[in-house]
Amino acid sequence: MIADYSIGLLVAFASAGVAFFALMRETDGLHRLLLTDLIEVVTLAFIALVGTDLAEALILPGLVVGVSELIALSEIYRVKEGYVRPPAAGLQIEVMESAPGILAAILVVYGIVLSGFSGGAVAGLGVIFYFLSRSHSERFELIETASGYSWVLWIVAFFVFMLLPEYWFFAVMLAGSAILVKVMAKMSLIGTMRGGPDV
């Protein structure tokens, strides 16, 4: 066990060195953004090396921090380079007209059954696919508000756990469904972020 951990650390430190060397040599803005992914993976490797249930639970925050900073940075990059509109109106294929409804419905239902963070991701994937293939006319701000309220519900669930631990069952269900709505709303917004008149 002791030897295994040190070997794992050796590999992780070596890959961190290689990844940072690549980042040091790179000067192009977009390539730097792509190289940060290489570094995020090594971060997760460091956490995973601990190999307990706690490590497994800590990977989720580590992953989310990387992904959310990537969202913000890519938007900053887009604005600073002045890329405003997508070049074309999207793909015009027959299957993109008929499939999205069915696929999105299946993914959303399965995501709600799963609930929690991964359920939100699955359901969000379905909604992204739907919005990407269809033209959208939904209210951007409305989805954002739903996401904000579910974040508040999540905080409420946290305080129930801390102050009234005997209602743990209520708190688990509240947290699970709040984070489902939150992640799904956030991901579906990505699907609508293509510019267009109605956002």
């Binding site: 953004l33 995020e40 971060t43 460091f46 956490i47 800590l58 921090v65 990387g66 900073e69 900053i76």
Partner: protein, 217 residues
């Protein structure tokens, strides 16, 4: 072990994560609280450009939506700094430091200027890759000692590897960029005085806090 922060004044318990306040961290906490209050109350400065060689000058307008967004980010940054000051758990502290980093980028990214956006992008990349030393250091300390709680580590009996502390400190430098004041001057060209000051203050505070953590554990 050495107690540079003094004895605990107040402990807040959230399950496995404790928030504790010593005289040292309370001072930092109150500083962050005062600045957050000032940021809420104050109005943004109006910048004036003077044309060289003449009497003409232009006043730069700050749009209301931009002002509101930057104030929101400043308040979030202040709350994150306050959280980082009291946090008694290493991983929780690294998460608060990441939140400080992303809100710092947000405060400057709202400015409509190519030059400021360039700077914000570079800081954003640094803040993003700084999660490796931050989380890596926390994971290393967890693996070698079996706990993440700062009071438990401070109680002694654990051999915290120096490399873990070094990673943690480097990560906080990356998130706050505290020693890079020379480069940080770029940010001060952005209009809106109280909000930009919050960037500097928060990075200074989390840096002071990580020094305390590195010495205590």
């Amino acid at each position: 072990m050495s107690e540079i922060g003094g004895s605990d004044l107040f402990v807040l318990e959230f399950g496995d994560i404790l928030h504790y306040y010593t005289p040292y961290t309370t001072t930092l906490f109150v500083l962050a609280l005062i600045f957050t209050g000032l940021a809420i109350l104050s109005r943004p400065e109006g910048q004036v450009d003077i044309a060289f060689g003449g009497d003409a000058y232009y006043a730069k307008e700050t749009a209301v939506s931009e002002m509101r967004f930057r104030r929101f980010m400043t308040i979030a940054c202040g709350l994150a700094t306050m959280g980082a000051m009291g946090s008694g758990d290493i991983f929780n502290f690294t998460l608060f430091a990441s939140l400080v980093g992303i809100t710092n980028v947000g405060i400057v990214a709202a400015v409509k200027s190519r030059h400021v956006l360039d700077a914000a992008y570079e800081y954003g990349i640094v803040a993003m890759v700084a999660t490796l030393p931050l989380f890596g250091g926390a994971a290393l300390i967890l693996a070698t000692t079996g706990t993440l709680s700062i009071p438990a580590l401070a109680a002694g009996g654990f051999a915290v590897p120096p490399i873990g502390k070094a990673l943690l400190a480097l990560g906080v430098i990356g998130e706050g960029m505290a020693p890079f004041y020379a480069a940080k001057a770029e940010m001060f060209r952005a209009p809106g005085a109280p909000y930009v000051i919050m960037c500097s203050l928060s990075s200074l505070l989390i840096f002071l806090r990580v020094v305390e953590i590195a010495i205590t554990i």
